[in-house]
Amino acid sequence: MSSNVIAPEQFKGQTNKVEQDDLIVAQLKRGEQSALRKLYNIHGKRVYALSLRLSGDREIAEDITQEVFVQIWQKIHNFRGDSKFSTWLHSVASNVAISHMRKQKAWWRSWFGSDEQNETELANIKTNDDLTNHDLSRSGLDKHIAKLPEQARIVFVLFAIEGWRHEEISKELNIAVGSSKSQYHRAKQLLQITINSELDG
């Protein structure tokens, strides 16, 4: 079966999830707090994964995740149903994460720190993982992503993992499309360098 053909069970699963989201949104709009709990149970881990990868810090990711669900509660009436609810939720999560990170010192260090400085920091990362072949452990790659310079990390996560376009990233981060592309290439190169240096022992 071709990879882009959705199996009937998978299609049914996706449809059920959308219907479930619609029901929860209606309950939220009526002010039912229990609906937010349901929403958190369904999407909490997804939002946390995005927050953790964008921030590269567990505690900050926890704060962001909580803030996302509080904002969903507050702003649910802004969701008009023009897109899938999960798309809107991820967009809120990315906005909250980036806004939260703008308040952190590291964000501004990534603007003012030189490339050389950032790359030296990256080269000094010490890890205990025993990686002996191409098949990186998932936690291994996440660990390297977390250590990327802030701007490069955000662009890489949004583009490579979340599937955003560079135009969307540039708008969100208030940077040029070209900068988004160059940060992405920089992230890929830095990841390649650090992973290979680790493989070389």
Binding site: K29, G31, Q33, L36, R37, Y40, G44, K45, R46, Y48, A49, L52, R53, R58, A61, E62, T65, Q66, F69, V70, W73, Q74, K75, I76, H77, N78, S99, R102, K103, W108, W111, F112, T132, N133, H134, L136, R138, L141, D142, I145, F156, A160, I161, N174, K188, Q189, L191, Q192, I195, N196, L199, D200, G201
Partner: protein, 169 residues
Amino acid sequence: MSINNIEEKDVLTQAQELPKELTPERDLWAGIEQAIAKTPQQNGYETSISWQQFGKIAAAFAPIALVLGIWLSTSNEASRNSNWTNPLIASYEIQKKQLLQNVNLEHPIVNNWQSSMKELELAEKALIKALKNQPEDPALMKMLNQVYQSQISLIQKAYKPQLQTYHQI
């Protein structure tokens, strides 16, 4: 180099295969529950009423907007900033302007200071934009203050001898 070296495309493939869900180490629900108990929902109905009234309000303010538009189009950006942004921004803009007025811009002692200034101005714009969404956020205000101080220091560093002479006069 090891024979195990990975290529850039392998990095992308690995990234796309990362799990979409991760479990936080602590329960985050309790904090959310506490926060929403104190947080009212923004009412969509009130918002739509406001939009209905918006037309009338806009019509009432149209003459003022027209005068304002003419004034904005004839005044320069610096004067607009000093009138429309908060006192912190205005005071630094004046300080920056005064410093630059008293130096010969063609003779800096630090090369490429303008490119550093551009980065700082980019940061300044991003912070002002963020402050529009979160007015008077103390962390943002503090960072904006630091960005302005860095701008002033950069000018002072680039034109140190000239500015020393100016202050002696």
